[in-house]
């Protein structure tokens, strides 16, 4: 059952295309709220800015690489993502937060919770994949990281001094070892 994409998907598109006016609108709507939440919970304005930036980049990443489709309104989604990030940060600094997780969020829809959770989960997953990637042999790491940079694969082959055919063969082998490495960890 596919859920309907929310009209606020346009904010994601704005992030993808760096539409400054619309990104600024996001700030006008949400920055103040994130700031007061962080200030009230033992943080500074700089902390709030860092959290906000990280959240926006995460959302950009998920929209671009994970095809994130927003089925809930953008504002509560972003606020929730920021809150969760800050609470995690407090946990790291081992300060107990003033506001409880679910506090004053009761009016937020289930969709929003699900999407915020999925965002966090996918981010954690990506960093686990990256850790597995780090365990590959040097040659495999080189081939995969070059081919992920976003340039045309023919050009990547040229840079690495191999044929395009060899690159495809080697990349599939390396990626297969990576998948197996990740599978073993999950077992």
């Amino acid at each position: 059952m596919a859920k309907k994409v929310h009209e606020d998907q346009r904010y994601l598109v704005a992030l993808l295309n760096n539409e400054v006016a619309l990104v600024n609108e996001i700030y006008k709507k949400c920055a103040g709220k994130v700031k007061s939440f962080v200030l009230f919970n033992n943080g500074s304005a700089d902390d709030a800015a860092d959290i906000f930036q990280e959240a926006l980049v995460d959302i950009y990443n998920q929209a671009k690489y994970k095809n994130l489709q927003l089925t809930c309104p953008f504002e509560p989604f972003l606020l929730l993502v920021c809150k969760r990030k800050w609470l995690n940060e407090l946990k790291k600094r081992s300060i107990s937060p003033v506001t409880k997780n679910e506090d004053d969020l009761l009016h937020i829809g289930e969709d929003t919770f699900e999407q915020a959770e999925a965002l966090e989960l996918q981010k954690e997953q990506a960093s686990l994949f990256l850790k597995a990637f780090e365990q590959l042999g040097e040659r495999c790491k080189e081939i995969i990281s070059w081919s992920m940079k976003g340039e045309a694969q023919e050009k990547v082959a040229e840079t690495l001094g191999v044929t395009y055919g060899y690159l495809r063969k080697k990349k599939s082998e390396c990626m297969a070892s990576l998948v197996k490495l990740i599978d073993r960890k999950n077992d």
Binding site: N17, F133, G150, K171, M175, V179, D183
Partner: protein, 242 residues
């Protein structure tokens, strides 16, 4: 076999299969659930890794935009600068001298605590003819016999440490007698919790510091009281005077 399927999937996605092999893969894919899962996993891992490793110029531009907007929207609070016309400048000069004089004279200083300390009244729901310890405690507390109230409240608190109402009044009673530190500790616990006494506790802690003329500590606590708390107005008034 599973591992071969993983390699096969990678070869399929990376275009490392010849025409015949590719068709065989797609044919199997139409009914092999395991292979479908491998393909979905492959795309998932590939895109996640791309997210981490891509040299994404769009993302870099976005980060620049964000950094600029951050400077605009996340500045630490700064006092506003208001420009005066020359006449106002004189008036404000005179006013400033008067204010300075008042600050040295400080006619209100001694009364701040009296003015702002709210003597809490402990209200207990009536439950019948029999007088309970709670009723006794409330009676003593409201007559400001804190030392006696404290004894009863200590007993009640020991029996039910989670009861926020008892904790609050016990904390206040402790602070009103000589056990200020212990009282504060108890009230701080309330502040860390989620009861309705949360900000009353904060206000009471602030008052205990005001009583000792520790203005910085008093301010520190007052500033924790949010706009929607009932003590907010009072706290702000006091903050202005401190």
């Amino acid at each position: 076999m599973t591992e071969d399927k993983i390699l096969w999937t990678a070869q399929y996605v990376e275009g490392d299969l010849n025409e015949e092999e590719r068709l065989a893969f797609e044919n199997l894919l139409s009914h092999d659930e395991e292979l479908k899962q491998h393909l979905a996993d492959y795309y998932d891992i590939h895109s996640s890794l791309q997210m981490e490793l891509a040299n994404d110029s769009n993302r870099n531009t976005l980060v620049e935009t964000i950094k600029t907007l951050n400077k605009e929207h996340f500045v630490a609070e700064q006092p506003k600068v208001v420009k005066f016309n020359p006449y106002l400048r004189w008036v404000s000069g005179v006013a400033a001298v008067l204010v300075l004089g008042m600050l040295i004279w400080e006619p209100w200083r001694s009364n701040l605590y009296k003015d702002f300390n709210v003597v809490p009244q402990m209200t207990v729901a009536e439950r019948g003819a029999e007088k309970t310890d709670l009723d006794n405690a409330a009676g003593l507390f409201n007559e400001q016999k804190y030392a006696e109230a404290k004894v009863v409240l200590a007993k009640l608190h020991a029996a039910d440490a989670q009861n926020a109402m008892i904790s609050y009044y016990y904390g206040v009673a402790l602070m009103e007698t000589t056990e200020v530190a212990k009282g504060r500790l108890l009230l701080e616990e309330l502040f860390n919790g989620q009861s309705v006494y949360k900000y009353d506790a904060v206000y009471a802690i602030a008052m205990s510091y005001l009583k000792e003329d520790k203005k910085t500590d008093c301010k520190f606590w007052l500033e924790k009281i949010p706009k929607d708390a009932s003590r907010y107005e009072q706290a702000q008034n006091l903050l202005r005077k401190l």
